[in-house]
């Protein structure tokens, strides 16, 4: 059989791409890319600093607002045992109007129960998000990818592939082409969302996925997307959907 003349050219383009296994790879948790000492810290309930935030979240979950109102625990149980962990693993979800992150759902629920309104990524909301997500630790990330999500995921993927800032890289440059390689001493991961909110050793703070994206954009010397902006919600959705099939590790410990 004769090959069309263009085929060798196309093949040479394909072969010139970065290693194929990084492109078609199955998703791997950031856990696989961190140092053994960091894994040990994550796995030890006394060593993992993220568990302090889980405990803060638990207290907030049980706190009764001043005046009229009720605590989260009044409906969902003191240990949030009434929450469906398989549903927690679905976030972010589409509520018919648009994307709802886990934190936004918690925020809405709080306000509906007579609590004051808090801005996105307020420390108390991040703590509640960490506590609730931690309830689903070990569950499989299971973000909807069909229906109304399909078009949103396409937009999120486009944002993932755009270059940003003076450093002028896209997310895909590091996390699709070079996972396993090192920037200085740090391993590059696939940029998965299953460990978030995670405790970041680099900054010594608990960080949810959207905050991590903002921090990465700042590192690129780019103007980060604003909290709760359309862009960050779309990118967060896309990244979490890539993590489908991975176990939730909240609170993971990451560099």
């Amino acid at each position: 059989m004769k090959l069309p003349g263009i085929l060798p050219l196309l093949l040479s383009v394909l072969l010139a791409l970065p290693a194929a296994d990084t492109l078609a790879a199955e998703p791997r948790s950031g856990y696989d890319y961190i140092k053994q000492s960091t894994r040990d810290m994550q796995d030890d309930d006394f060593e993992n600093p993220g568990l302090l935030t889980v405990e803060q979240g638990r207290q907030l979950f049980n706190k009764v607002p001043e005046g009229q109102g009720k605590s989260c625990a009044a409906c969902h149980g003191t240990d949030a045992e009434e929450l469906d962990v398989t549903h927690i693993a679905r976030y972010p979800v589409h509520d018919g109007n648009g994307l709802v992150t886990l934190q936004k759902q918690i925020s809405r629920c709080r306000e509906n129960s007579g609590n004051n309104s808090l801005p996105t990524n307020h420390a108390e909301l991040v703590a509640l998000e960490t506590f609730v997500r931690n309830r689903a630790a070990g569950e499989t990330v299971n973000v909807q990818t069909d229906g109304p999500m399909a078009a949103l995921l396409e937009k999120g993927e486009q944002l993932y592939r755009l270059r940003y800032g003076l450093i002028d890289m896209s997310c895909q440059h590091c996390h699709d082409f070079y996972p396993g390689q090192r920037i200085r001493g740090q391993n590059i991961s696939q940029g998965m969302g299953n460990g978030f909110p995670a405790y970041r050793l680099d900054i010594g703070e608990i960080t949810n996925l959207h905050q991590r994206i903002q921090q990465c954009l700042t590192l690129m010397r780019a103007e980060p997307f604003a909290a709760d902006s359309e862009e960050i919600n779309l990118m967060g959705l896309y990244i979490m959907s890539r993590s489908n099939g991975l176990k939730i590790e909240t609170p993971a410990v990451r560099y």
Partner: protein
């Protein structure tokens, strides 16, 4: 993730197509270049002339490539510099780069390597600032390194033989 490669291939082909039609598409016309930005010309995959006609200093260049707040070449490349705790492994090692490439070829790779490989992860250290997407305000209209720094880095790299 399975579809990534197909998407990537079509993206590259699309990018090549776009580049071949009109480079002006990606340039925001209303943005002015900084007054001190020197134009450069690519011939045979090289920039023969030093930026702004400047002469580089290899000792300063060696400092720039190691300084994580400046060129930070070590973030991605191995270099024959002792006592460095950790090198990046993203880019090719630069040992003997001066024996493998001419000065002009090195200059193009430092200035804007995407003239050679549009998908490269490497930042263009003297790329047209109008091509940078969404820069932080502190960096808008700036190049990664200034022309003198680029020439210093090149003066250092050509000594690696």
């Amino acid at each position: 993730m399975k579809q990534t490669r197909n998407n990537l291939t079509s993206q590259i082909l699309l990018m090549l197509l776009v580049l071949s039609i009109s480079p002006a598409i990606t340039i925001a016309a209303e943005q002015a270049l900084p007054a001190d930005y020197c134009q450069w010309d690519v011939t045979d995959y090289a920039i023969a002339q030093p930026l702004c006609g400047l002469a580089g200093d290899d000792a300063r260049g060696r400092e720039i490539v190691t300084d994580s707040g400046s060129g930070n070449c070590l973030a991605c490349h191995q270099l024959p510099i002792p006592d460095v705790e950790a090198y990046g492994t993203i880019g090719p090692p630069l040992t003997a780069i001066g024996a493998r490439l001419t000065e002009g070829q090195i200059r193009l790779r430092v200035v804007d390597t995407r003239k050679i490989n549009p998908m490269s992860i490497m930042p263009g250290f003297y790329r047209d600032p109008r091509l940078i997407h969404r820069p932080d305000k502190r960096y808008a209209g700036r190049t990664f390194l200034n022309a003198q720094q680029v020439e210093d880095v090149i003066a250092y790299l050509v000594t690696l033989k």
